[in-house]
Symmetry: C2
Subunit: 557 residues, 2 copies
Amino acid sequence: MSNDRLIYLPLGGAGEIGMNAYVYGYGAPGKERLIVVDLGVAFPDMDSTPGVDLIFADTTWLQKNKDRIEAVLITHAHEDHVGAVGHLYEKLGAPKIYTRAFTANIARGKLSEYGFSDDVVTTVSAWPETIKAGPFTIGFLPISHSIPESSGLVIDTPEGRVIHTGDFKLDLNPLVGEAFDEALWADVSKDGVRALICDSTNVFSPKAGRSESELGKPIEELIGSLKGMVVATTFASNVARVKTLAEAGDRAGRSICLLGRAMKKMLDASLATGVVKDFPTVVSPEEARDIPRENLMLIVTGSQGERRAASAQLARGKYNGFTMKEGDTFLFSSKTIPGNEKGVIAIMNAFSEQGVDVVDDNGGLYHVSGHANRPDLLKMQEVVRPQMVIPMHGEHRHLREHARLAEANGRAAVIAVNGMMLDLSGNAPKVAEYIETGRTYLDGSVQIGAMDGIVRDRIRMALNGHVVVTLVLDEQDEPLGEPWCDLKGLPETGKSNAPVVDVLEADLGQFLGRANAKTLRDDDKLEEALRRIVRNSSQEEVGKKPEVTVVISRLSA
Amino acid sequence: MSNDRLIYLPLGGAGEIGMNAYVYGYGAPGKERLIVVDLGVAFPDMDSTPGVDLIFADTTWLQKNKDRIEAVLITHAHEDHVGAVGHLYEKLGAPKIYTRAFTANIARGKLSEYGFSDDVVTTVSAWPETIKAGPFTIGFLPISHSIPESSGLVIDTPEGRVIHTGDFKLDLNPLVGEAFDEALWADVSKDGVRALICDSTNVFSPKAGRSESELGKPIEELIGSLKGMVVATTFASNVARVKTLAEAGDRAGRSICLLGRAMKKMLDASLATGVVKDFPTVVSPEEARDIPRENLMLIVTGSQGERRAASAQLARGKYNGFTMKEGDTFLFSSKTIPGNEKGVIAIMNAFSEQGVDVVDDNGGLYHVSGHANRPDLLKMQEVVRPQMVIPMHGEHRHLREHARLAEANGRAAVIAVNGMMLDLSGNAPKVAEYIETGRTYLDGSVQIGAMDGIVRDRIRMALNGHVVVTLVLDEQDEPLGEPWCDLKGLPETGKSNAPVVDVLEADLGQFLGRANAKTLRDDDKLEEALRRIVRNSSQEEVGKKPEVTVVISRLSA
């Protein structure tokens, strides 16, 4: 009897919303042939990752086992699903990459930044087309989401069929991209589905999700009622929304101008791949600048308050020659992702100061989510009728709630977080192994580890300031002159009303005057002593213990 | 004819939610006698104020004019209204401080931390008692809020009556503290009110606010239904809520234990001043540890995810001997203030990992706001019927919306942001002057300016890392050995796969080998050249331009 097994291993996305990377494998334990679903990024913040550019799942395990990778499959073109494909392609042994046309267009752009040609991505048509990848046969099953051509994956394995939903909502009229086709999903599932690996993002949203198509009328009414220039923002990748906004502006007699690099890229990809066939005429920024503002509508990037995007730059005064004025209106056709509130609110206040009217999603009137809500998740379970539900794409609380929801409806469910390898071969999933995982950072041009102390040091300097002590010792290990201090990020004067630098240097000088030869000869001891003095004296003077770097220069004898 | 005037000058709170500080004055221009309403703090964050402890309004103008201050009046005991009173008392020339009993209790605690005795605060009874302060007569008019004894101020001036609402909601049954008394407010306003200076926090909330008293039943039902230990959090200062939670736990047969310093302080102040007369028996943490968890309810601090508060510590594993377990429940009887989402969500996920059920405010079932919503603001205007409305206590967008709301209802309104001095003497308010204002930071034990570069340097080190270059020059201005680099917050290796420090030192060494005597003699030139090399080489190696400190030691000839 074979001891081959079917495994599922999330490396990213199960315990956070972001940096999705899921592995399936089949074969003898430790020798499973692997497929990877999605290679996404997460975004840094000042609290935990200052200075970092992008966050990736730690794929060390995958890299060690790159010879076992049969294929990478990308469900859709959101950054948290495709953003790492360029960075990781070579590290994973240049695997075959499969995805549908629109996603392929975006993925190829990312790969070309790393010098890889278009043909490393193979374009796949929608189900019933399938591809073979080792022991797996995989098809891309269309589903609606907030980006064109999002797909669930039908993964046929020797242990039966598994369905990986990707990100989805149950939209019967998504305007761009395919609608949710219940009959198709039911048909695919009719012979039994071993496991449904399912998006958990909106498990806490109690009401059924609403269709993208509900927004056109209210947005049209809004824009029709406005007088000055209208500027609207949404995710550029939400092509249906961009189109809805553009059509509403067009019908209100306004010229449409798209601003922000991503807007153009996404629209170009949509037109090139045919997911969008008609789009209102757009004018260039140069043309737009000559159009009276009451006849103009800008659609811009930066719905999440990103500092460098068009919205934030407009809020700070100017973008691409455009400025906002009293009487203009700025529409957020979007919802603020938790953690981005301060950036978005800062933009709203800046516009308020300029006399610009800000309109937010207005309780859902001008925005709908791209993810399945609680009743939609139940509906998906009823359509697919899987043997077990494995929640993914969620923080721990989402995964847990989703598992409970499934169990409350009589289905087996298991919470699998990043690094937890499940064996799905038996009747119930069991934990097979724990894989070391975590996050790695793209920092400038270098990949660094989350745990190697670099970012920790930055955070400490930000919280405590940094003092550099320089000491020169002569050939006899005697201090040559006084020690110097340089302070960065610390107050100039403290408790004793003298410059802090003078106080520290005096304290250090006093110590050195008394220090014995043994201490002066020993770099480590000396460094430790000087550090302690700086930290204690600073605490006394300014109420803070700074980070300290001690530089000891010895003149060679 | 006298040219005396009535002025209004917000120094904090008008353009942000936090650090409230409002000035009223009457007299000849530049010689007005002044009263100050509230002296609050704002709280720092990692994005803009890393390492800062507290944020105060810049009161330089007030300090310059401290001889003109007749009194400080505190409307209520929230940190953003009373938090700076200890820190600023002496700087403002030790003015008389007036407030009601509960707030006085809290204010005295803050003043005692700075060594001031209880009698610097004078306790005032509610309206109709008034106090005289120069040209002003002031009474404390009870109003409901999320803390006991919040008060509006009735400020009688030679130019008529002004009403400063303080923070408020229109609660007819707030459980603790006085209900909103419409008849009283109408009576006070019946002879005409020149200006209503009014809380703007919830101007974007479309529905009338709900009463604190609506929460008792749902909270009681919730707690009655739970099996394991119950832990609930809310603002400690929301004494009514703490009491509601405690009573619900008590009725469910649970022993109540309060955890977190602020919980005890607020309950003690409430009992000492009589605003709370009966409170369920509480047990000490020591006693609580012996009580079976299904019979226990903890009420803890940290509803906003504050890292050091009880909630966050419980989420990390342990607080005061207590740990959470599978089957326990944690209730947020609170709403997350924008900007605090990440901290709160981190706690929710940590509890989820422990198997603890987390219950949030459930769409308002377990929490109501302490501020007046849009219809309540209109109601207040109808009751007071002021000649003009001046919105306060809000970000710019709140102030603007509030002013528009008032104007739409036929009242004069003006947006006055921090530093904008209004002359309220005429029929319409006019801007009299702009006062230099802003924020100052309490950083450790030192007060620093927001603009003096200290915090900016910290942010830069956090984003870019810090390189220290040390160079020793001999008596002939020749480099003694090689220059040294110390890196903090930067990767160890970069593009050339060699240690970054080696690459930088080699580049610096090469430069010094070629540098002419003139450069080597000139500290500024040398420093600038070394800095440029480090920044460019780092950019090349790791894709980042770090902060650079150059330390040049010259051996004296």
